[in-house]
Symmetry: C2
Subunit: 141 residues, 2 copies
DNA sequence: TATAAACCTGAGTAAAATAGTCAAGTATAT
DNA sequence: ATATACTTGACTATTTTACTCAGGTTTATA
């Protein structure tokens, strides 16, 4: 089990964005330079974040991105969801009748994966972008 | 982020094994049939489980595998560790001086990933094979 | 109004990881 | 003897990841 770069980059970029957001739109170029993430890749990521209404774009010179919601209201779960980084523990969810692995009953560990998913999602649902920004500025003092 | 088949299969197979363990060694062939997992793949997985002393092998006819430790003492974390399924959130851990992404400071989200890792590992450390077996037999009644 | 900064989009692709298969063994109960 | 079952290592197709590339469109400002 691992976290992919896309998810990590999304969070890093948003924390960066959230710190400068109050003043002006933040360009991806700046984020790219500050965080060391490829500009092209950032564009892909922000395209998804925009579609899920986490950020808003402002085109043209001096343009960039701003947060569409308050940092407090953007949870990690929203971010991961936007970039398709989901906690996917097991394939056997929708097919409630068929069960797992083509067997007629639920697999022996079915409930376990459900529990695990909940456990991880809890963490993601509690943590907001604001928490991360605060956490960071505190450590700077 | 996702769990791989190897980790899921390992847990499924061990739950299966733990349920029959008291009587006789359990052959991989039986597990393969019951759980619908390829025999060859199971062999790879059990080779790792054996090296980490989670199971013990008994060769020859009527052979198979038995648990090397009590089900209560086998935690999910041991299983995932054995099959190289680790919670890997971020690359920037060892290089304590260099920081992340080649920058001179820790990346903005460094602490977050640490926290997440701990959160997930807590779950894995608390859950034992015995819990899973019990959970399963209870639901059968 | 020209131009450059910045967003926007889709296609393509190299490298890595995953999920196995295959082949050729060795050990042992019966 | 022999069949059952563990043991090992190499191999491979597929999928996923982590990007790059090539072309746009929009708009502030000089």
């Amino acid at each position: 089990m691992k976290l992919t770069s896309k998810g990590r980059y999304a969070v890093m970029a948003l924390v960066d964005l959230a710190r400068f957001d109050n003043i002006n739109p933040v360009s991806l170029r700046d984020i790219s330079l500050r965080q060391g993430i490829s500009l092209d890749y950032l564009e892909q990521i922000f395209s998804k974040l925009r579609k899920k209404e986490i950020v808003q774009s402002i085109r043209g010179t001096q343009g960039g991105y701003i947060l569409k919601r308050k940092a407090k209201e953007i949870k990690l779960t929203n971010i991961f969801d936007a970039v398709d980084e989901k906690v996917k523990t097991v394939q056997c969810k929708k097919e409630s009748k068929k069960g797992c692995n083509g067997k007629s009953t639920k697999c022996l560990t079915h409930n376990l994966w459900d529990e695990l998913e909940n456990h991880i999602n809890n963490f993601f649902e509690e943590k907001s972008l604001e928490d991360l920004v605060k956490d960071n500025s505190e450590r700077r003092i």
